[in-house]
Symmetry: C2
Subunit: 313 residues, 2 copies
DNA sequence: TTGTATGCGTTATCAC
DNA sequence: GTGATAACGCATACAA
C-alpha cells in the first residue's frame, strides 16, 4: 500500500502538499494535478488509521443494538445510514444480543477506534452508561440510557400500548404480552395497554420464542382471553404462530401488535398494528449525532415519536 | 482519555513496560501490579487506532452484505459473530444495498482502517474485487466473488433449486421466481428448478416487493401456474403476500421456498422449504478467515454447503 | 527483566 | 502557497 510519502516523492512535492490536496485546502492547480496523477498511479488511499490517530476522530459511527436480526432495528439502521452516509460517514452495526458485557465491549471499541459517534439502543435499565467526557458522541435510540446524559430519540411507548389495546378492546378480556420488566419500553407499552383496558400483563422477552410459549400457555387456559396485545413485532409473530398451531385465527382471538408484523403474509386487516416510525427515528438520531459531532448541538434533547394505528401489511 | 504515558508515569515505569503488561509479555509481578493499579485508576484503555497503526492490523472484521435487513444475512452474521468473538475479534456489519459503489467504499474503509478481515457477500457478478496484496484477508460468502482469488463458502444453489421444485412438482406447471440474472445464486437456483421440471423462469430481484409484483402478474394470467418456486426467503414472502391479497392459499397454488420463511405465521406443512444452513455458513467463513489471518490457511478453499427439504416453521 | 529510542502514516504548526 | 517537522498513542528492536 502506497503512503503519502510515496505520492509526495513521485509528484515532487512535500507530504504536506499531498495532505492538503486530499483535504481540500488551497494548493496551486499545477501541483494539484501532479499529486492527483501520482496518487492515481500508485492507487494511493489515505490511511484512515493514521489520519484518525492524528485527528483524534474518524468518520465512523457505530450502531449498538441488542438484536440486529430484529427487523425493527434494521429499519432504524436504514434511517441512520441514509443520513450518515450522505454526510460522509460510514456506519457499522454492532450486535450485543442484549448482553451488558458486549455493550461495554462495543462502547470500548468505538472509543478506542476513535469513532465519531455511537447510537445505542440499550439492552435494558442496567445497561452500562458510556463514560462521560472525550470519547465518541452518544445518542440513545428507542430506549433511554439510564444514568447517561445523552440525547434521546424514542417512541411514545405508553401511547402505542394504549392504541394497540384500544384497537381490540371490544373483543373481550385483553392480556398484554410484553418484554422483560427490566426494559422501559416494555413496561411503558404494558402500562398503556392496561390503561386502555387490558386486564393482565405478561412479561416475556422481546422475542418470537417467548411470544409463542406464553401465547400457548394463554391458549391452553380454561378461560381464554378475548384478545392479546403483542408488545413488539417478534412477540406478535410468536403469538400468531402459537395460534396457527392451535388452528386458531384472529376471528377466534383478537391480536394487535405494536411495531409491525415483519414479512407477514397474513390478510390485510387481520391484525391491527400500531406502526412505529422506526426508520424516521434512525434518521433523527443520525441528524442529532451529526450536530453533536459538529459541536453545535446545544443542550440535551429528547425527541418522542408517536405511533399510528394501521392495518397489517 | 488517559494514554500509555500517563499510566507509565503514575506507575513509575517506562511506557514499554506498560505496553508489555497489556500484551501479556514477561514483566515482574511487582510492576504488573503497579501498572494494573495505575491503569485502573486512570481508566486507561489502550487506543486501538494507535495500536493498529503500529501493528498494521486491528482486531476488527467487516461483514459486507447487500441487505442487512434480510434475515438470511443476519443469520449468517450470527454465525460469524459467534466464532469471531470467541477469538477476540469484533465484527461490524456493513450494508451495501446491492450498490457497487458502496461495496467499494466499505472495502476501502476496511483496508484503510486496518481491519483484519472482510467477509463479503457480493451484490452480483459485477461486484468489485478487493485489491490483491496486503490489505485485510478476504473471504467470499454465499456468493462467489468474480475475478478475486479468495476463499469461498457457498451453498449448493443448483441442488436447492432442484429440491424446491421437486417438492411441488406434482402440482402442475411450475414457474420459478428468482433473483436478478446478474446474480449467480439466482441463476443456479433457477437452473436447478428447471432441471426438476419448472417450465418458466422469472428473474425479479431478491426482494419482497419484486416477489409480490411478479406473483400478482402470474396470478392474473389466463392460465395460472400450478406452483411457484420462490428463489429466496423474501421472494417467498412476496409470493405469499400476493396470494393472500387474491384470497388464494397454498391449496390453490403450491409454493415452495429456498432458504426460509422469516417470521412466518403460516401453518406448518403449508410450504415446503429448502432450508439453507446460513448460520453454519457464517461460522465456517469466520473460521476460514481466522486461519487466513493467522497465516496458516494454505491454498484457496471452496466450501459448498447443502440445503435440506423441510416443512415451514 | 527493563528502559531508550524509533517509526507506523497522517495532519497541524510554524516558518518561509 | 509551500515545505520542514513535530506530534498523535502505541509497539518493538536494541541496549543494558
Amino acid at each position: 500500500m502506497a503512503t503519502i510519502v510515496d505520492v509526495a516523492k513521485l509528484a515532487g512535492v512535500s507530504t504536506a502538499t499531498v495532505s492538503r490536496v486530499f483535504n481540500g485546502q488551497v494548493v496551486s492547480d499545477e501541483r494539484v494535478r501532479a499529486v492527483r496523477s501520482a496518487a492515481h498511479e500508485l492507487q494511493y488511499v489515505p490511511n484512515r488509521t493514521a489520519r484518525s490517530l492524528r485527528r483524534r476522530h474518524s468518520e465512523m459511527i457505530a450502531l449498538i443494538f441488542p438484536d440486529v436480526s430484529n427487523p425493527y432495528f434494521t429499519e432504524i439502521a436504514r434511517g441512520v445510514e441514509d443520513v450518515a452516509r450522505a454526510a460522509g460517514y460510514s456506519v457499522v452495526l454492532c450486535n450485543t444480543d442484549g448482553d451488558h458485557a458486549q455493550e461495554s465491549e462495543y462502547l470500548r471499541v468505538a472509543a478506542a477506534a476513535n469513532m465519531a459517534g455511537v447510537i445505542i439502543a440499550a439492552a435494558d435499565d442496567e445497561s452500562p452508561a458510556p463514560p462521560e467526557g472525550s470519547g465518541p458522541a452518544v445518542v440513545a435510540i428507542d430506549r433511554a440510557l439510564r444514568g447517561a446524559n445523552v440525547d434521546e430519540i424514542v417512541m411514545d411507548n405508553y401511547e402505542a400500548g394504549f392504541l394497540a389495546a384500544r384497537a381490540i378492546e371490544d373483543r373481550g378480556p385483553l392480556v398484554v404480552l410484553t418484554g422483560s420488566e427490566a426494559v422501559g419500553t416494555a413496561r411503558d407499552r404494558a402500562r398503556g395497554a392496561v390503561d386502555a383496558g387490558a386486564v393482565d400483563v405478561i412479561h416475556a422477552d422481546f422475542g418470537v420464542e417467548g411470544g409463542r410459549r406464553h401465547a400457548l400457555e394463554l391458549l391452553d387456559r380454561a378461560e381464554r382471553p378475548g384478545g392479546i396485545v403483542a408488545g413488539n413485532n417478534l412477540l406478535g409473530v410468536g403469538v400468531l404462530q402459537a395460534m396457527a398451531s392451535r388452528n386458531l385465527t384472529t376471528r377466534d382471538i383478537a391480536v394487535s401488535v405494536i411495531g409491525a408484523l415483519p414479512f407477514t403474509t397474513l390478510h390485510p386487516q387481520a391484525v391491527p398494528i400500531v406502526h412505529l416510525p422506526s426508520r424516521r427515528m434512525g434518521e433523527l438520531a443520525a441528524e442529532r449525532m451529526l450536530r453533536r459531532i459538529s459541536g453545535d448541538a446545544g443542550g440535551l434533547e429528547r425527541v418522542v415519536l408517536r405511533g399510528e394505528l394501521r392495518d397489517a401489511v
